[in-house]
Symmetry: C2
Subunit: 253 residues, 2 copies
Amino acid sequence: MSTLLCVTVDNFLTDEDRAFLAGYDPRAFPPVAVTVDLVVLTVRESELCALLIRRGEPPQRGRWALPGGFVGPDETLDEAAARELAEETGIRPGAHLEQLATFGDPGRDPRMRVVSVAYLALVPDLPMPIAGTDASEAHYRPVAELGGNGAGLAFDHGRILAEGVERARAKLEYTGLATTFLDEPFTVGDLRRVYETVWGVPLHAANFRRKVLSTPGFVEPTGEKLATGRGWAELYRRGTTAHLHPAIPRPPS
Amino acid sequence: MSTLLCVTVDNFLTDEDRAFLAGYDPRAFPPVAVTVDLVVLTVRESELCALLIRRGEPPQRGRWALPGGFVGPDETLDEAAARELAEETGIRPGAHLEQLATFGDPGRDPRMRVVSVAYLALVPDLPMPIAGTDASEAHYRPVAELGGNGAGLAFDHGRILAEGVERARAKLEYTGLATTFLDEPFTVGDLRRVYETVWGVPLHAANFRRKVLSTPGFVEPTGEKLATGRGWAELYRRGTTAHLHPAIPRPPS
DNA sequence: GAAATAGTGTCTATAAGACAATATTGA
DNA sequence: TCAATATTGTCTTATAGACACTATTTC
């Protein structure tokens, strides 16, 4: 194992400088790396899927992990997350990206103290143009196949994924975010299938339709109809309302 | 300004070790400090108040700031937050403490890159036994007096405080957390005043009472009555239900 | 007695949830 | 034809919100 030395060059400091740095001596705390990890969720083929990358490097080599990387010295956390999302999935305008939570247990990464700020992204199901900055595999994998709390993921990524999934499930209730899983235009049936997939429960189609269309700003009609599947269906775009009043009730279990 | 040198002692490394550390050379990213900042909220005299500390050290000296400190090398983030809370307010069993969000904009602290994990604590209004690890002033100050987004606070603490207040307001809707603002036992009127204070709106007393008592697990009756104020009032303890179904409706505006 | 608070009863509007029924298209 | 989906109509139940009223204590 290698050793890290952090040395403060504090010759020629004034008393004011010393006071200024009081409590900020780097020797007082070990080096810490700050990263962003992404929980990128999408809905494909009636399954809620997360973007995972198979690790090609030693710690946890071969296991699936969340995409992520270091926060650059001049980046905000949001910018670092947006950059990683663009690198991993290609830029998707309209994709939703929000901070999820921060994970910093000592020992969560065997190499050093790593504090990871997790972000949640909700993206439509598009053919994946992963550029693969490193040559590692990247796939959307159904979260249901990953077992309880994403067991089997590298590091503590199973827990991070579980929190991201729960956040997404909760936010569908009281925001219009479900539309960010869909390409425009979409039908009310498409939107209902997003809810059913993310929540894992069947919804009453007639009541769901009434609820969505009676919520101002949730979806906007395009005036066109799509004659695919059985029957025809009216087409909609995303609305502008972020908060739903009242919420879409989430059935128990 | 002093200079920080971080040197990796990488003589005698095997190829495996070098691969292990690939991408983790500390020279690849500047030193980062990780801290926890606390948004400690309480309700006193019909005002929502936050615990603030007047800075006694140069950057932003004399301005009000959130309590906080460094994350120790062997602490989890939660442990660091709990330690800081105990140091600043004295240990309060039953106090609610949850991670709020992480703030890491470059330049948010003029000394160095500081990534701060903010926590939200909801505590009852008790005589404050602040031990004051440093000799700085600490006070509960009404958030309404701090102006929009806590203008005037040091660093970006105004924004952090605003997010904490908004989180608290939102959580009163769908959790039983309002009870953590109260000492036990309490009356339904006490609980209603917590809602009215945090939300800043008057609530219908009769409907509120019905709502609270009809929500299983929100509060538990003690069987005793308190003959203070006008009339008598039944006394309750905190219930065990974390999630309210259905939520306590929050009036608009 | 007046004022303030606790507590009960009741009514209305709204929304959720369930069921029925029709229309349209693909197999 | 049948099966599947979209869409509309209607009914029941639960709940929010409003108002009226009583009881009890302090001033």
